[in-house]
């Protein structure tokens, strides 16, 4: 069975005990994303702060979501990876994750960069599930881009 290659223990752990879940204040941007094929949805908030060198840093990411194990676990892993990182670095991680998801199971993921998110490599072999894995990430990217472009209060 290949089920275990998709549903790695790390994924199931994050699914059962999601990190950083729940909507919190304060926040700089809030977005609502939906996967129109299955109706899975996420409401996600991003709060940024000014870092030491003037670059915005991801202070907090909070979210409320309904969805399958892959989408729930992926959002949880994402928050672990981006919270506390400078926005630019977090965007790079997000790009690397997107690349991994588009790899059709052929990529060698960068474990230093992606940490727990490498567990999703197996998901990239199932085209129907890639959107699930990306739902939280795309919402975060959207919210962060909006927060950054909003009047430059963090630059």
């Amino acid at each position: 069975m290949q089920l275990e290659s998709m549903y790695q223990e790390i994924i199931l752990d994050h699914y059962r005990n999601p990190h950083h879940k729940g909507l919190r204040e304060p926040f700089d941007a809030e977005v609502h994303h939906v996967n129109p094929t299955c109706g899975d949805e996420v409401t996600l908030r991003v709060s940024l702060k000014d870092g030491a060198d003037g670059e915005a840093v991801v202070e907090d990411v909070s979210y409320d979501s309904l969805g399958c194990s892959i989408s729930q676990a992926s959002a949880s892993v994402m928050t672990d990876l981006v919270i506390g990182k400078p926005a630019g670095e977090a965007m790079k991680i997000s790009d690397a994750f997107l690349e991994l998801m588009q790899s059709k199971g052929k990529a060698e993921p960068d474990e230093d960069l992606l940490e727990d998110a490498v567990a999703f490599a197996g998901v990239s072999r199932y085209p129907a599930r890639i959107k699930c894995a990306l739902l939280g990430w795309m919402a975060w990217k959207d919210a962060t881009a909006r927060a950054l472009s909003e009047g430059g209060q963090h630059s």
Partner: protein, 406 residues
């Protein structure tokens, strides 16, 4: 006749293949699209190999043969649903058929009129009516759904302002079969037209449009063993004749001048471009196949499978079937919720076992909302499904519960 699934299965090449982990395919997604018997594939292939000329065009032999096959298919479809040949319009699919009617009605619907649909509709029989209401200023109204997934037929919604009632003939989620003939009678008394979405009805039950008395019936060939790309709009001749054209261009015209054009009578008024004759040949072969089985037998077979599935699922703790839990006025679409396991995860585990089902809202988002679930897993049955496959589904659900510790 005897309805022998093992014999039937041999006619469907796709059912012979192995899927993930070398498992045989258990195809429980015919509600989305059905598999095709070899006779349908042969009919299409033979068209291309022998008769491939543009139907309705040219006077050479191939074009003539193409025309004959295409028009012959129209007669076959008409016979299958008890219509006259000139009441059958070929479209791309059920979705296009609904859009055709909804657009063509634009100039006869005005602000203050009412369009009546239901909460149970597939988006294909919902969004086009929302759009018609928006274009015309008409009001969209709908029958709601009871907790059992039946339609609450509130007859006070049918008034003299109602222009058209558009209802599903069988829900693609709960399998519920609304009382179409009764609603049609009430709608006609109020002077309204009736369109029935037969996408899940026509493939699975004997249908006689004259007995139902509906004005329009739409369905898709690909859900009834036929090829993708061909659908049907049945309309009473007078109802079709009252409609202006929808898609315009070649074939549907009578005379074209630079200043303006006149149009053919139905059904040609609604068909433009080179006709999809190979698909029509395929659909005719599919109808011949279903006719050979007998639609009463098809319906009885599916009823037995549905009863078995309802019994099996009732026994699994944490599983809730959406919709009626008996086979009365209910077809073979069985959608369910597994407590603690998301439909995507249920279907992924089933896929790993070779069982193809559908997960999501099945293009019926308002219905899922009404039933209090975000999404569901759905198994649908057809002529080639066996009792063993129903049992495999139940075992697979238990396995998914175990896998996710639910």
């Amino acid at each position: 006749m005897t309805f022998d699934v093992e014999v039937i299965r041999k006619d469907f090449p796709a059912l012979n293949r192995l899927v993930r982990n070398g498992k045989p395919l258990v195809y429980l997604d015919s509600g989305a699209t059905s598999q095709k018997p070899a006779s349908v594939l042969d009919a299409e292939r033979e068209f291309y190999e022998r008769h491939n000329g543009a139907a309705h065009r040219g006077s050479h032999l191939l074009s003539e043969e193409g025309t004959e096959i295409y028009e012959g298919a129209r007669a076959t479809v008409a016979g299958f649903i008890g219509a006259d040949e000139n009441e059958v319009v070929f479209t791309k699919a059920a979705t296009e058929s609904v859009n055709l009617v909804a657009y063509a009605l634009t100039s006869s619907v005005k602000a203050g009129d009412e369009i009546l649909i239901s909460e149970m509709e597939h988006h294909a029989n919902l969004v086009p009516w929302q759009q018609l209401a928006q274009r015309t200023g008409a009001t969209l109204k709908w029958f709601t759904v009871t907790p059992e997934g039946r339609l609450d037929i509130d007859t006070s919604l049918i008034t003299e302002r109602t222009k058209i009632v558009a209802l599903t003939g069988q829900s693609n989620v709960t399998g519920a079969v609304p009382p179409i003939a009764e609603v049609t009678r009430l709608a006609h008394q109020a002077g309204a037209l009736v369109l029935v979405d037969g996408a899940q009805l026509v493939p699975h039950h004997p249908v006689d449009v004259k007995a139902l008395d509906v004005d329009f019936l739409v369905f898709s060939g690909h859900k009834m063993l036929g090829p993708l790309g061909l659908g049907v709009l049945y309309g009473k001749y007078a109802a079709l004749e009252a409609l202006p054209p929808f898609l315009t261009g070649g074939d549907m015209i009578e005379v074209v001048r630079m200043e303006g054009s006149t149009f053919q009578p139905p059904p040609m008024r609604f068909e433009t471009g080179v006709p999809p004759a190979p698909e029509a040949a395929g659909l005719a072969a599919a109808i011949d196949y279903l006719g050979g089985l007998g639609m009463e037998n098809v319906a009885a077979h599916e009823r037995a499978l549905t009863a078995r599935a309802l019994d099996a699922l009732r026994e699994i703790k944490g599983v809730r079937v959406l919709g009626p839990d008996t086979t009365a006025d209910r077809g073979g679409a069985v959608a369910f919720d597994v407590d603690g396991v998301h439909p995507h995860d249920v279907s992924q585990v089933l896929d790993e076992l070779g069982i193809a089902v559908r997960a999501g809202h099945h293009c019926a988002w308002p219905l899922h909302r009404a039933l209090g679930v975000q999404a569901s897993t759905r198994a649908t049955f057809y002529v080639y499904n066996s009792r063993e496959e129903v049992d495999a589904l139940a075992d697979g659900i238990r396995y998914a519960q175990k896998f996710f510790g639910a």
